[in-house]
Symmetry: D2
């Protein structure tokens, strides 16, 4: 039985709490949140207790691992405390919006052999796992072009945008990671172009809501990612890998399998309303992987290094948005 404490009782924290409570090998020992009432309510739902302070959470005598789902600006500190305490950690991305700070904590963890996993949950999607399997099996030959679509249904509130790090660091970063993972290669340069079309006020945040990014992989293969914050038609996430011997793709997920036929048209159920409905099962699968490594040993992946690399790509993309040229990725 792995004793895991949860840090963060917001929306995504409550998702993790449910998965932790449902996992047969996990004992959800405590929930911590800066808002103690919120922690208490979530803890009560799952029959556990709220931690009075962080010291309880990082007590290696009581806790085997922490799930860090607090606000982004606290991740690095929590990671450092977990590493120092000898407690394993599963951490929401990003490590830290500041790449240098992120690199520091990653170096620290490496030096102390901390067991940390970054929650790039899409790697645990069954469709993406199948794509990875197909690519690794050689069925489609050498990877030549990866295309990814990442389009959210509706503009997040400006308050969220303000602390998100922007579309590259917040949204596209998941797909930078997916591309790296599927290709098994680290992109060397990135071009990005974007605009604030859905929400012109984004310009004040030096952010964009509609963008395309082109990554070059060692050997010349290319990656193309289009991202939008607001589609108006649902959550649209797709992936495609063109290889020298064929192509494999993941189509958009639909909410149902109903078709309505009327004069000359066929009306199908559309895409999921939001990202959460699309990726919901991946959180439990990511947790399951983490727990297995706790039980059996071995390093959980995606690792902190994976998290850092995806962020480094995002940084290059942000530079490119400003420079108008393909920017080299500088991995820390």
């Amino acid at each position: 039985m792995q004793r895991i404490a949860l840090i963060g009782a917001g929306f995504i924290g409550s998702v993790h709490a449910g998965n932790l409570a449902a996992h047969p090998d996990v004992d959800l020992v405590a929930v911590y949140d800066v808002d103690h009432a919120r922690a208490a309510a979530l803890a009560a739902t799952h029959g556990t207790r709220a931690a009075g302070d962080l010291a309880e959470v990082f007590d290696a005598d009581l806790v085997d691992a922490v799930y860090i789902a607090s606000s982004t600006d606290t991740h690095a500190e929590h990671l450092r405390r977990a590493v120092d305490a000898g407690v394993a950690a599963l951490c929401e991305k990003p490590i830290d919006l500041d790449l240098a700070r992120a690199a520091d904590v990653v170096a620290h963890a490496r030096a102390r052999s901390g067991r940390v996993m970054v929650d790039f949950n899409r790697r645990f999607d069954t469709d993406y796992l199948e794509v990875k399997r197909v690519v690794d099996s050689g069925e489609i030959g050498t990877v030549e072009l990866i295309t990814l679509t990442s389009r959210g249904p509706a503009m997040p509130p400006l308050s969220y945008i303000a602390v998100s790090g922007g579309q590259m660091r917040d949204q596209a970063v998941h797909f930078f990671d997916l591309a790296r993972w599927i290709a098994g290669l680290d992109p060397t340069e990135v071009f990005a172009a974007g605009a604030a079309l859905a929400e012109p006020r984004l310009a004040a945040y030096d952010d964009v809501d509609t963008s395309v990014a082109t990554l070059r992989l060692p050997g010349g293969a290319l990656v193309q990612i289009d991202s939008a914050r607001r589609t108006g038609y649902g959550y649209d996430e797709r992936l495609e890998v063109l290889g020298s011997e064929g192509m494999v793709q993941v189509r958009g997920h639909r909410t149902g399998a109903v078709s309505r036929h009327h004069a000359g048209r066929i009306v199908d159920d559309g895409l999921h309303p939001g990202w959460f409905e699309r990726v919901r099962p991946t959180y439990a699968a990511a947790l399951a992987h983490f727990v297995v490594t706790l039980e059996r040993g071995g390093d959980p992946t995606p690792s902190l290094a994976d998290g850092l690399k995806a962020q480094a790509i995002a940084e290059a993309a942000v530079r490119s948005l400003h420079s108008g040229r393909s920017e080299p990725v500088r991995y820390p």
Copy 2:
């Protein structure tokens, strides 16, 4: 909080136990099975206790409702005891393989105002609910033709076939109910034809594994159901309603959204491996409906009368298999 006891700890009983345990308004008070060890094991999994005998299960002071998931030949007796004890019941189909016995217990329940629901779980599938909504809304006009496909992946063992009642009573009966429900009409006659193609030994059981049935509805509309026990390619369940103003259909459910493109062909993920994967969420939804009627009053549906009518259609279908002619449905 509704106190519900479960009768039957086999495969489907264990599914129900999980749903009962997860329902926020349900207290799973006990699990009963003729095999006490099996009941104990399932009870332990969900933190409840095994009932020592049936008397505990039908004790209205301790139990508000029972979920009857025991072997088919015990349903009628358990239903009668529940009705007599003033305990509500959610019962797996069929009520009893013998239509006269089934009619008896239904009459008894009606006389005693028993609150009983029959678990035709497909009525709670989100796709079928949408079809029902479309039909009821008048979007496709008057129903003229309903077609249903029901094809299982693999031949069940002969030991199962022997007690199943045969393809009409065991498999097609779900679709007789769906057709009635969607059309809002009781079929008046049935023609059925079938053969033992996948498993010739079925002939010894006077059973078939591949069949088609044609139902006539009041007003002349038609229903067509094709059933197979073994597809070799997965579980294939589809539904289609042709109306005077359009058509609505539910396509087969696929296990994933991956397409592989190779020389001239596109290879997609196929259908679910079995019926359970396809309909899994409907059990929880059926339970949720049952619990709501316990809490708020009102009669749960599908009712015992619904269960009886579907069985009456199956009986007519069996007669037609032998007579080679369209047989009138004799509703008890």
Copy 3:
């Protein structure tokens, strides 16, 4: 160069005229129609001449073959004249609405070794040819169930219905032939049920517009055909073959590949507006086959015997519509 004369300058005759004129190995030598002006106009369009009377058309010195596309009640007579004259014939279905008369002319043709092909054009559809190839290759094992959907977009005029022979002989007969052809077996009995739902006045013609038919094949395999005269949503023709090792299907053909995504729904281009758009290329392909047999020898198929058998199935279906029981097919 095959010298072919066309009999019949109506809609389908004009389609054949176009195909005859475009075929590189065919010389369209004349067009005949009881309406001479209509024949003259069609002949002029294709740079040929109108025949003054039928004697010209059946003159073996001038004509190698005739394409019989005149009204149904003249087919048998034209076939007989072609056979007597030693002129080959490609004849629209049916041979004659009266099965006995049809059998007579078929016997006559057989006795005289006439070279005659019946235009069951769907056998030349590239999708159906692929299904036939799959079935014959053994890829899906032994055929166990064939399902066919045949739904026209709009009710034909009553004037057409009056001379059509009814839904079984006019519409379903194409699919009786397809089923025979794909299975390579002659159905032994037929059950049919139908109603006049789209056009209640059909009852006065002893006809139906919505029907289902169940055919039994030697060995026990089943065929199921649903037919409708009016869908309201386009022309819907589908076919599916379930075998012991898999399934092969032909989906409905769509007019385009455009999808429109709006709030929660995906609107696709629908099915073809009518049967002609769906099967248009099959007429030229059927003609091409006929011409090849003229050039190289060999018997063209579908043969007159094929035509007669499909009609015999239709007759059994009509009997079943009245008797309410499965009727044996009586092949002449």
Copy 4:
């Protein structure tokens, strides 16, 4: 009746010859080719004559228009002669691989009010016309992102590559034109990245076979085009427009509608084997438009200016391939 002469009797010339011969309002008066025997053979097929020299082709007393389908390096000269002779012209793209030379002849044609159409035939595809209609209707709001996929099935021979102008000028240029046409806007800058992955010898031609291009439109909307010379799985052409109110897409065209279901997988007919099968009907539609403008007056489109603009975008893309930065488009 429009008297049209064809210049060029190669593969695409023979396609045009067939369309010219089949058009009811066109008299194909002559075929010219530098290889006289080839011209004679094609002319004979369509019952017309081969022109002995170009003077016949540009004789306005005998010819109303020319269809220029000769080798690329002769387009500009033929266009100039047509303009000077007062003969209309429908010209294969590109106008000239040298943008300055192309601009010269376009200026000349403008000064002389020549009636010239450039054969960007994809604008006449029924699916793309529907997308254009949807976009222009406002159904999907303001255009924010256009994505295009252009992937050929197999590497063309190096001899073709050598004179093609490279992937941007030869292949992507069609999609630069489509994007301009659908958006109704002239891209202001282009980024392109590519590699020679399918055929490393392309590097010797300073060419790529796998590439992505990002175009920026006035107002900030983006266009993304991925191009590949060799897929191994067929010809894959797709288009998608994301607007502020929805999305419209054209899916890949498949060769048939057959699905084969085997253990856990569904195998569908794949994409067309080549570009020609995909776009074949567009050539006749483009010709029909040209003929209508000849008959009724009005300027045919795409115009020479359209052709020049698409080429200017391709030039910027080529510059970007070398510079690694987004390059401004310099329209002549």
